[in-house]
């Protein structure tokens, strides 16, 4: 066999093969890591079964779009819990990228002869594919707790899940490009995941928050996670929330741009953190 027989990839088929390879690896890793697989499902179910049951009689949710009737609290928080799956998944994949970078396997990806933006986007899509599967497994289990949106809602929610998954995954990419060490990841949990979750419309409607605290209400309005949850909520009940869709798209563009800068060999963290192995 001769050397140098492969030229730089340029056909769409080669791009598709690369994307397929990255998604396949992500799926294999997900299936192999049983703990991650199970905790991703158990976490939202604990919230649904225990937290929502506890608050069932405390919090009533009046009729507000996209719901057409009074709804129990469990029904209200289900879309927020799907958002939670995607938020954790986005952070998990960013954690795995920090881990990959420390362990060196990120280098394998970065020396691939495909454009870096394409490799990062493929990595992002692979994470989204995993989170969408997790979301549907959650919907299937939640059905037994009387979370029964219209059947068409299960189809309509797919693009919303993809868009919100992309946005939250891109946020994870940004964080992974700027976190220097794996140990710093605990900080991400405290300063990113929990504040984003609690200052969103996942657990309580924004109109309630407006009554309780105006500053938190406005923080929630600018919180990308609020709009991810609302996009999912509306789509699940066959409605469309254009403002949330626009906000999610805008944040996706912003985060993706920052991630590309973060992984740029001349400007990003890889260049700044210095020192190879020698």
């Amino acid at each position: 066999m001769q050397t140098g027989t492969l030229a730089a990839p340029h056909t769409s088929l080669q791009y598709a093969r690369c994307l397929n390879g990255i998604i396949r690896r992500e799926a294999l890793r997900w299936l192999n890591q049983r703990g991650r697989f199970i905790s991703a499902l158990v976490r939202p179910l604990v919230w649904l079964v225990i937290f929502a049951a506890g608050f069932h009689f405390v919090l009533g949710v009046s009729i507000s779009p996209p719901y057409r009737t009074y709804i129990p609290y469990e029904v209200y928080i289900a879309p927020g819990l799907v958002g939670m799956i995607q938020l954790f998944n986005g952070m998990q994949s960013s954690l795995s990228m920090v881990y990959d970078r420390e362990m060196g396997s990120m280098r394998t990806l970065m020396v691939s002869p495909f454009p870096r933006w394409f490799l990062l986007a493929s990595k992002l899509l692979a994470g989204v594919a995993v989170s969408v599967v997790q979301a549907y497994i959650f919907f299937a289990i939640a059905w037994f707790w009387d979370i029964t949106p219209p059947l068409t809602g299960y189809i309509a929610v797919l693009p919303a899940l993809i868009l919100s998954g992309l946005m939250l995954g891109a946020l994870g990419l940004v964080l992974s490009s700027f976190i220097k060490q794996l140990e710093n990841f605990a900080g991400v949990m405290n300063f990113v995941i929990f504040p984003m979750f609690f200052t969103s419309s996942a657990l309580y409607p924004l109109w309630r928050m407006q009554q309780a605290s105006l500053p938190i209400y406005w923080i929630s309005q600018f919180n990308p996670f609020t709009h991810a949850v609302e996009l999912i909520r509306f789509a699940l009940y066959d409605s469309f929330n254009p403002i949330s869709a626009l906000v999610v798209c805008a944040y996706l563009g912003l985060f993706m741009g920052l991630a590309i800068i973060g992984y740029d060999p001349g400007r990003g963290l890889l260049a700044r953190r210095g020192g190879g192995g020698d």
Binding site: M1, Q2, T3, G4, T5, L6, A7, A8, P9, T11, L13, Q14, Y15, R17, C18, N20, G21, I22, R24, R25, L28, R29, N32, Q33, M103, G104, S105, R107, T108, L109, M110, V111, S112, P113, F114, P115, L119, D264, P265, G266, L270, A271, G274, G275, G276, G277, D278
Partner: protein, 236 residues
């Protein structure tokens, strides 16, 4: 590469490095820890971007034509970059996909390279179950899957026993001859530079010597002796 310099902040890591590896060359880049070997590799593989100097791989400038340049490169990194929870074959298929290869072509190449390193019967095993030497061999097979023209190996034998080191060295030297593969083998283990190798001495980011082993040694001097003489002279 020509006149390549690189600094991390105020710390200058490489100073005007000039280096060329020709097809079929087995070039040993000798340097102590901290000499700048891994930084040099990170620049060639575009993990970092060079601000001064120029790197081209088989005529493709790494900044202007990064994709064509990277397609010519095979790399074995200092740290293992295999996914321990995946099988040998799954790791290799992933690499093939990252080079746009079809599953069919990849399967043929995987079998070819694994048989060459004597690990075909381990292709369905998880990488975690392999020994250190076997993992290194798999990394070498992976770096060769897409048939690169230039192979970079960064301290590939660190932590391996004598037999595994010998196997890797002989295998890569054989590839230079049979495939006219250009090889840049970075190491701090001086005995890996055989008498027939081309030796490049890198010390504190500068190239102190570059030539056939016989050219850089003085009468009756070993490569280790020449390395000590050159690096001490630089320190003085």
């Amino acid at each position: 590469m020509a006149q390549l310099s690189y600094a991390f902040g105020a710390r200058q890591v490489l100073h005007k490095v000039d280096l060329a590896v020709r097809p079929g060359d087995f070039s040993v880049l000798l340097g102590l820890n901290g000499a700048g070997k891994s930084t040099l590799f990170a620049l060639i593989t575009r993990l970092y971007s060079a601000r001064t100097g120029r790197i081209s791989v088989y005529g493709h400038d790494i900044e202007r034509e990064p994709l064509a340049a990277l397609a010519c490169l095979g790399v074995v990194f200092q740290q293992s970059t295999l996914d321990l929870d995946l099988t040998v074959e799954q790791n290799l298929f992933y690499h093939a996909a990252l080079h746009g290869m079809s599953r069919r072509a990849a399967r043929l190449r995987i079998e070819e390279e694994l048989s060459r390193i004597g690990l075909l019967d381990r292709k369905a095993d998880r990488v975690r179950a392999l020994s250190g030497g076997q993992k290194r061999r798999v990394e070498l097979a992976r770096a060769l899957l897409h048939a690169p023209s230039l192979l970079l190996l960064d301290e590939p034998t660190v932590g391996l026993d004598m037999e595994s080191r010998r196997f890797l060295l002989d295998h890569v030297r054989g590839l230079c001859r049979s495939r006219a593969l250009g090889v840049l083998w970075a190491t701090h283990l001086i005995d890996e530079a055989g008498e027939e190798s081309r030796v490049i001495v890198l010390h504190q980011g500068r190239i102190l010597a570059d030539g056939a082993a016989s050219d850089i040694t003085q009468a009756g001097e070993s490569i280790k002796g020449a390395f000590d003489r050159l690096t001490q002279k630089q320190a003085a």
